[in-house]
Subunit: 214 residues, 2 copies
DNA sequence: GAATGATGTAAATGCTTCTCACATCATGCA
DNA sequence: TGCATGATGTGAGAAGCATTTACATCATTC
């Protein structure tokens, strides 16, 4: 008896898997939310795909490169989600920005595998150039949204768009890390993470001199 | 040849170490910043303390309980640092609050071992009741500082102190996670993490209707 | 129809966590 | 004084993981 024919992987007909790379990523995405990015093992992913523990090394240099690959793919999906939420600034730039923030939280909650690989797996963003680029693309969306919001201010009173984007990103990321995930939140809260974020962003914009629907 | 007499641990005279528990914590605090909270191993800590790999289990149920112990100790020191920075609201509540935020970043930077155990090691806050309590104590300091700041607002316009504290905590934590640590920041920035945080908090307070030095 | 490169296997190494039976030592108690 | 006892450390070992190396299988191509 071997692990052959015992995996959950789809499409394992003969000696070769045929789609192992994808199957491993799929397995990892299912495994990471279960055991955390630390608990995830290369060997278990191979088992789920129905191949030997050595097979994954034909597709990824090592465990970290699989995680980096997932993180990169995650940033791509992340960028898509943020873009969709931003809707090119509709209905108005401030609402769009709030929606992007909520999409940030939603992504952390609904895509725990990707999110963990991106931010909690200890993978440096420079692991690969592609990963860095994917991360930059995602951030650029926040930055563009910030620019549209700032455009509503008179010329002389505009703060740097980069700073605004960094503030909202940090706030979103902090809330997602502390209260947003599927794990027990760090602290009991009287409001949802989404409401907390929206309130924070609104106060912040108020501080910049922007009014809702302004 | 055994690991006996080869450890770096202080005070290993005879068969018994004499202070193994402390030595293991010390070793872990030195090791975690090197290899990350994931890379840290129980066995290596034992080696540094000059004892066998089985010895640590006399003092900690398992690896996670050592990390939880460090996290708890970290929250205690964290609380001390935040308290000192807050200085009971001196010179004025807003400045005190900003200083607490900076102390948050400073802690992340100067105590990477503690910080990683507290927030990046995948240790749930409910790992032990003591850990949860230590975390709550630290947060209470932020909450008190928020209350002092809010007191500067007219009765009818005071937001919930808890919300304000959560906002500033999240922003601080987000900045610390993304840009604050010793690892490569997620993004190049035109300003320091401290300046970014201070600017964010000031804008936020402005949005609440508070003026600097008001 | 064989050479070739891509993909998967077996086996082995060295690491980890964690357990269990046993060794050593300080302390207290007779 | 001298022996029980509990706390602490040791040795050995089971089970699991990452990773490598030599070898097996298969599709493709010339």
């Amino acid at each position: 008896m071997s692990w052959r024919h015992h995996g959950h992987g789809r499409g394992r007909a003969g000696y070769h898997h045929g789609n192992l790379r994808e199957a491993l990523i799929e397995a990892a995405l299912a495994l990471i939310p279960e055991s955390g990015p630390l608990g995830f093992t290369f060997a278990e992913a191979a088992r789920q795909a129905g191949v030997s523990p050595a097979a994954p090394y034909r597709h990824f240099r090592d465990r970290d490169h699989l995680l980096a690959d997932i993180a990169q793919q995650g940033f791509d999906r992340f960028a898509e989600a943020l873009t969709a939420a931003g809707a090119d600034g509709a209905p108005d730039p401030m609402t769009a920005f709030c929606n992007i923030g909520k999409a940030y939280l939603a992504f952390a909650r609904t895509q725990p595998g990707y999110y963990a690989a991106m931010f909690e797996a200890g993978i440096a963003l420079d692991a690969t150039p592609e990963l860095r680029e994917a991360g930059d693309r995602a951030f650029a969306i926040l930055r563009d949204a910030a620019e549209r919001v700032i455009a509503g201010l008179p010329q002389g009173k505009r703060p740097p768009a980069l700073m605004v984007a960094l503030h909202v990103w940090s706030l979103s990321h902090g809330i997602a890390s502390l209260f947003g995930g599927r794990t027990t939140p760090v602290r009991a809260m009287p409001m949802s993470a989404e409401d907390l974020l929206e309130a924070g962003v609104l106060v912040y914009f108020q501080g910049l001199g922007l009014q809702k629907q302004g």
